[in-house]
């Protein structure tokens, strides 16, 4: 902190929610406006600090690595039109002008749940006016499995996890949703059986079953959920529909589900848009590629960050107009031609719904809340000929649509209609490779030659992402490494203290990648950070010992095959 704190300034403190994922962790954000603001800190923001909100029913003040570093990840956006800084009003007017003069079939609205229920609903009102749906990016999953949605419902709380007898994990909580760990620790202490189905062996699990991403759950004999089981999985834009369908077919109506979400209000946005007929995530992307789509409006949804494909930035150039309404300065702000900057998320007046289905309001402990994002959306609607939105009305409407209690200490679930009967459809759904080959750049998803031979490919592996808050939000952490099994290290003749070259069939190579030896399935590479060689959620890669060696050391041929020796 440079400069002296002006005695006139007070510190503002907001009782907010961490935006890292859909877990809904409570956190206090401290905002100190000092003279440093005039001189400008790194990105012109007031000085932020977090404090631990120990009364939060979700996390009791505990935070993961993302939450602890939350203050550093806020970088406020600035309104601009075609790269030129403008006032928020001008940006809103420009956006409205664009939306007015375009055919509704050429517009797509995207809000994955990066902002409050109120703003999402406001965008839905704009959508109604324009006659286009608001997409949440998740529907690709439900397009085929429609009614199964009823079973992915809410109401399983984290406290339920603590008291469960049997827990099936289909996510890696250590990386993806770290705050789950303590709930699992308590469950384990109470004698729960925790079975993990995945690629990595988890220390928290009482039993680890290696299940490869393409494997059908019907073929996994250990997967035998009963009425006392809680199944913890996640719903992201990349959740494999076939796996999800199998999950619901086997356990639906019998076991409890807890579906974790990657975006802070993904659950809320999902429920608000429940009845809109949406386009799937890859529909939007492929329409952008063909140029059918002319205008894309993103509400706190960074398509470039969310999309694992590096080419997304190029694809954006196909759009006539990209309108981004964002509270943070993320990659997409650089690619958009109209940016409407809103207040930072931590001080947005509004509510979010977490993965449990708990409605949490963002409030001010000291200082004023802000409504600029909501007002910007209301401004657009007005310019399009609608009537201005009133916050209280929209808030009440959102709460009643969600059927939730406004008390964050209570999780209420709207009364369920009888759930539809589950029809078996998973066998009709496309397999993993088929799903993701059409995802983007089909050319890049060609199996490497060595794999086709069926033999030899000792250094061949499949790359998967270990999704985590840093990855979804385009923030960098000290996770610049890949994880591979010890056997894979030997197969690829990697050496301890050295690095690996990882390449995919399309020719992209990441040289000198650091690797970590993990207890996991052979033949896989996991990474927590975006990799240039990974064009799709699953990519075939080859791993070789890097020629880049630390200085002063040489590799002799003799050491090959005894990977970890020094």
């Amino acid at each position: 902190m440079s400069g002296v704190i002006d005695p006139k300034f007070k510190e503002n403190v907001y009782s907010s929610v961490c935006f890292g994922c859909g877990f809904g962790c409570g956190v206090f954000m401290r905002e100190l406006e000092t003279k440093a603001v005039e001189t400008g800190t790194a990105c012109g923001a007031p000085i932020l600090n977090i404090d631990y909100r120990k009364a939060s029913p979700v996390n009791q003040g505990k935070l993961c690595r993302f939450g602890v570093n939350l203050a550093n990840i806020y970088c406020p956006a600035a309104s601009s039109v075609k790269g030129k800084a403008v006032s928020d009003k001008e940006a809103v007017a420009k956006a409205a002008e664009v939306l007015k003069n375009i055919n509704s079939s050429e517009i797509a609205l995207l809000s994955v749940g990066g902002t409050t229920n109120e703003e999402h609903l406001a965008l839905m009102k704009i959508g109604e006016k324009l006659g286009v749906p608001v997409n949440t990016g998740m529907t690709g999953l439900f397009k085929d499995i429609g009614k199964l949605h009823a079973y992915t419902g809410r109401g399983t709380t984290y406290e339920d996890v603590e008291t469960a007898k049997k827990i099936y994990l289909l996510v890696d909580p250590y990386v993806s949703y770290p705050l789950l760990i303590r709930r699992l620790v308590h469950a384990k202490a109470k004698g729960a059986e925790i079975v993990s189905f995945g690629l990595k062996e988890l220390p928290i699990a009482t039993e680890n079953v290696i299940v490869e991403p393409g494997t059908s759950l019907y073929d996994v004999k250990e997967f035998a959920p009963d009425a006392e089981t809680i199944i913890i999985s996640d719903l992201t834009p990349y959740t494999h529909a076939k796996r999800l369908a199998e999950l619901v077919e086997i356990a639906g109506g019998k076991s409890k589900f807890l579906f974790m979400r990657p975006f802070v209000n993904a659950a809320g946005a999902g429920y608000l848009s429940k009845h809109t007929k949406q386009k799937s995530f890859d529909d939007i992307v492929s329409k952008m590629e063909t140029g059918e789509l002319k205008v894309l409006v993103c509400l706190d949804s960074d398509l470039i960050d969310i999309c694992f494909n590096d080419g997304m930035k190029e694809t954006f150039k196909n759009l006539e107009h990209a309108i981004v309404i964002s509270s943070r300065d993320t990659v997409i702000c650089g690619a958009a031609d109209i940016v409407i900057a809103t207040e930072p998320f931590y001080k947005k007046k509004g509510s979010v719904m977490n993965s449990e289905g708990r409605l949490i309001s963002i409030t001010a402990a000291a200082g004023e809340m802000s409504l600029s994002g909501f007002n910007a959306l209301s401004g657009i609607l007005e310019a399009l000929g609608g009537s201005a939105l009133d916050y209280d009305t929209i808030h009440a409407e959102a709460v009643s649509m969600l059927g939730a209690s406004e008390d964050e200490y209570k999780v209420t679930v709207p009364e369920k209609k009888t759930a539809p009967e589950i029809k078996k459809i998973s066998d009709k759904l496309p397999g993993l490779e088929a799903t993701f080959s059409s995802f983007s750049e089909p050319d890049s998803f060609v199996s490497s030659a060595s794999m086709e031979d069926g033999e030899a490919g000792a250094d061949a592996a499949k790359h998967l992402y270990l999704t985590n808050p840093f990855l979804w939000n385009g923030a960098l952490d000290n996770d610049n490494y890949v994880e591979i099994s010890r056997c894979q290290v030997k197969r690829s003749a990697l050496l301890k203290g050295f690095t690996a070259d990882i390449s995919c069939a399309c020719g992209e190579v990441k040289k000198a990648t650091r690797f970590k030896v993990s207890q996991m399935a052979d033949g896989y590479v996991l990474s927590q950070r975006k990799q240039p060689f990974a064009k799709a959620p699953v990519t075939h890669v080859t791993i070789a010992c890097s020629s880049t060696k630390p200085k002063g050391l040489t590799v002799s041929k003799a050491s090959k095959g005894c990977g970890l020796s020094q």
Binding site: C487, K490, R491, K496, G561, S565, Q566
Partner: protein, 154 residues
């Protein structure tokens, strides 16, 4: 694929015999010269020791010792000038303070006493150097692999 797995697994198996690996920090002015002396005088000593030269024994930070253990060292030895002979006035007094902390901590963690040793060895004490190394190798061989050594590291 399965064949590859088998070969990998078989190469994974340890050769059975335990050969301890010892990291030794020697101060530039006394102990390193002592090691040199031991070599020149051709005292017989085991080859399990990797010597790291530091300017002063007090340069050895806890981080260095922990890293050595975590990377797979079975023992760490710190050597320096005798008290009063330090090249940097009283720096080896500070070594003593640090060493006490590290030693207490590692003991509490359950690491055997002999795995971390501090010894003053002057430039003239080549023989003592060789004896110290031999003694430590013998002790550590008896102790077996360090509990801090990561599985799979050979």
């Amino acid at each position: 694929m399965s064949e590859v797995k088998e070969t990998a697994a078989s190469s994974c198996a340890s050769s059975g015999e335990f050969i301890p690996k010892i990291v030794m920090f020697c101060c530039n002015w006394c102990s390193y010269a002592g090691a040199d002396g031991a070599g020149i005088a051709r005292f017989q000593q085991p080859t399990n020791v990797r010597v790291i030269r530091v300017m002063c024994s007090s340069r050895v930070d806890p981080i260095h010792i922990y890293t050595a253990f975590l990377e797979g060292a079975d023992a760490v030895l710190v050597t320096g000038c005798h008290i009063g002979d330090c090249h940097y006035v009283n720096a080896n007094d500070k070594t003593l303070v640090k060493y006490k902390f590290i030693k207490d901590m590692l003991n509490e963690m359950g690491l055997e006493d002999d795995r971390l040793m501090l010894r003053w060895i002057s430039a003239a004490e080549g023989q003592q150097f060789a004896e110290f190394v031999a003694e430590m190798v013998e002790k550590v061989t008896a102790l077996g692999p360090s509990p801090l050594r990561k599985e799979g590291v050979v």
